[in-house]
Symmetry: C2
Subunit: 122 residues, 2 copies
DNA sequence: CGCTACTGACTACATCTGTAGTTTCATCGA
DNA sequence: TCGATGAAACTACAGATGTAGTCAGTAGCG
């Protein structure tokens, strides 16, 4: 069971999943555009993630290099499961049905998913 | 935009979506099995939901009757959207792909979803 | 060799969450 | 009528979260 990751922490993880290892400053630079966090804020989030053992640290002279210890897929699997359990009784079909009914699915989406499912069976 | 509803509050909402209006005591009875919350806890959660205007209150003598002011579907739509946005870049296809790869989809699920999509197109 | 600047460590603090306890007011039964 | 009971309102409090500020140490530059 992967530790709970908060919304802000998740932003940091996305950066590290894209490229790692990175220093705190590099991470801060990469989130600077989307979020407007200060370097200190990013460092706090990195510390919390390290405390949860979701990322690892490696000394590099006077700085630290941070890398994810959890695969993005592993994390997504856990979160998706919790989400589907909590809101759709653990069944994926109602989720897809809901998204479809709520017009969240374009015709292209539908075609893509159909193709995907065909491959799965094959 | 529906106000953020916490996990515990969501449990209360599920009860009210199933049947409403209900008194605080009735709600407490209905969550007693699954969660082990005290009546006081349930009342606190009801107050917070009422403060967020997610449920409405109606005086009934010396008690209150609580009812949802937000449809379950509306709520699900918002939460699902946020979920897909945050974790799958707003695209549903990668979500389905992920669930599929993570073996979260049984053959039956796949058949169900295919049928669902066929109806959508028709 | 000493000062400056960058880095991690520690501290801060308001708000949200989970989980109640306590107080007060009204009502129903004896 | 008066006390017990039940309901809402108010208070509590620790841990998580978002968002930093401050302190202290070290390495590199002059």
């Amino acid at each position: 069971m992967v530790e709970r990751i908060s919304d802000a922490e998740h932003e940091i993880m996305e950066v590290l999943w894209q490229k790692a290892p990175l220093t705190a400053t590099e991470v801060a630079d990469r989130v600077a555009d989307s979020k407007g966090w200060s370097l200190q804020t990013v460092k706090t989030l990195l510390s919390r993630l390290a405390a949860k053992a979701v990322i690892g640290t490696e000394r590099d002279g006077r700085r630290f290099l941070y890398s994810p210890l959890v695969e993005r897929d592993t994390y997504l699997a856990g979160v998706s499961r919790k989400f589907v359990d909590r809101l759709f009784g653990g069944k994926v079909t109602p989720l897809v049905a809901h998204l479809a009914e709520a017009d969240e699915l374009s015709d292209d989406d539908i075609r893509e998913i159909e193709e995907l499912l065909r491959e799965l069976k094959g």
